[in-house]
Symmetry: C2
Subunit: 372 residues, 2 copies
Amino acid sequence: MSAGPPLTRLVQDLPATVPFVAPDAIERQMGKPLRLRLGANESLFGPSPRALQAMRASLDRIAHYGDPESFALTGALARLHGVEKENIVVTSGIDDLLGLAARAFVETGTSAVTSFGAYPTFNYHVVGFGGELRRAPYRNDANDLQALADLAHRYHARLVYLANPDNPTGTWHSAQAIEAFIERIPSDAVLLLDEAYIEYAPEGTSPTISAGNPSVIRMRTFSKVHGMAGARIGYGIGAPETIGAFDKIRHHFGVNAVAQQGALASLDDRAHIGRVVASVAEGRRDYEDLARSLGLNTLPSATNFVAIDVGSSTRARLLLSALQEKGVFVRMPGAPPLDRCIRVTMAPAEDRAQFAEIFREIWHSHDHARSG
Amino acid sequence: MSAGPPLTRLVQDLPATVPFVAPDAIERQMGKPLRLRLGANESLFGPSPRALQAMRASLDRIAHYGDPESFALTGALARLHGVEKENIVVTSGIDDLLGLAARAFVETGTSAVTSFGAYPTFNYHVVGFGGELRRAPYRNDANDLQALADLAHRYHARLVYLANPDNPTGTWHSAQAIEAFIERIPSDAVLLLDEAYIEYAPEGTSPTISAGNPSVIRMRTFSKVHGMAGARIGYGIGAPETIGAFDKIRHHFGVNAVAQQGALASLDDRAHIGRVVASVAEGRRDYEDLARSLGLNTLPSATNFVAIDVGSSTRARLLLSALQEKGVFVRMPGAPPLDRCIRVTMAPAEDRAQFAEIFREIWHSHDHARSG
């Protein structure tokens, strides 16, 4: 027996880390179920009833492998976006797509640009393939497009990550600003444009991108407004050469059959999506009112969550743990200056009211309300 | 805009290939649904009713992300195998696990050993990470353990792939033979022991492996006897250092919530598994009788499929296409000398009878019965 498994040097040297501590892990740590699960930006308005029905029906054929080409879904997505099937790859969520992009574009020493405190799973995959992260601080609680483009040029980056609308802030740039950004990054870099929250954003947020442009991969998911996070399904839109490269390396049978059927049905239920978007917009006003009534600001949000500025990271941390004691799961951004906020996922009205009550009580009764 | 996406040289140079043409793709090519789907070794006896019920119930929480640790399932699997949770990683099928293993152990120039004509997805991932395949021919329609071990030594292989029972032949080695093989491969290589079909095999086929042994990763799936291929779930059992390394690189939210719940319930329904195994054993006799009645041999099988020796690859190819014209999907092994066979998945009695009728008719009426 050898001393240990013969790992590659790269994998051997990686830190033991996970991108996120999951809500389930928090429940296990607490030893009881969460009362309010407001930390993972899931859609607590649930999936489309049509999607649910399609998923239920798909279980009758669960003994069969799903379609590795996601043929029907890919076709529907191509029609929706006015592109060809060759522009689409269906994956088990955006996380899977980030892993594919890292594998396709990153090798030891490759630079990849992102904002400091942005989505950690991008970082996880870049580091996992030996890449070097170059991070631009947020500016006025938004991604600093000029700084990101400058970093990409300075370090000859191959990948640039940008979430628009952004997570964890909720802020966003206009389609025009994104289009200008695409022009500004190096011509031999690829922008991973994470549009997980795009359905919640105002008209004029999603840029026009030529389907043949090899410099951008647009990323979408069924985990947010479609309410299907547990099903694991998302997709990328990119140039045929990029999608073709992903087809050479992806886990072809990775997307489960239930998710494919659910996604297809959900795309057809625009009314459900419209209702969720309207409910989320209404709910954001509730969270903003709650914050204001306690003398706090919120960051502008075009997503299904609101970042409440509680003034300091010490205070945010204390609030998080006080909320958790009451069975309320929220998150705080991991890096300054955003870590002065707590990030609260949108929920139906009665859950919002419950959150407001608990949050007010904690705010008024704990020391941290007056310290920090 | 640049000339093309800035792919790594490795990915750029990979061939455009997929490990399998899926049954769905064959249906699209035919323009009609398959009458008998006997080519993907799915369990046509279906999943456990308990698993189905659990999957149906899990859809109520599909808006929530699943547990990236598959905590409950990992615990149940650890108990089942008499190992610790640190020995288990749950993945979206064995294919996902093969990809993880290739990423963890293979870099440009690394040798990996397998049998010539064995499971293509192993090859796909090894090549995808820049590895060199070293292939030992089958011997008497079984994996040639001595030749595999010799190749591993000769090429200083890091990975050795072995399916036991084997796919596409159905043949198997005893636990003792596998244990001796593990001793015989280089001490700094890792054996990927694919036991996808192990539940169908006689007692005494699955070797005893110390849970701390870093030289073996045992691979299991819910796609075969559990009848949940569409759910995409499987797992690996290995040394804690190996599982820990996989945790540093895997797609943490890759396994869907429906699959986790189904798998957990299916593990509890040993009676269902027992019934499927008994039905498959009975069905194998039918396929063997059918072959014999046409003057053909079958390969011994400890799986849910039977390889029928039709004498030549030309004849096998003709039969495959004649069957497909009748709406019957079977596969043939891709490489000599196995490509003189067609591989037929086990099905319930009425489907077997239908297959027998169609196969006889084709056999008696086509030229290839007398040529080749």
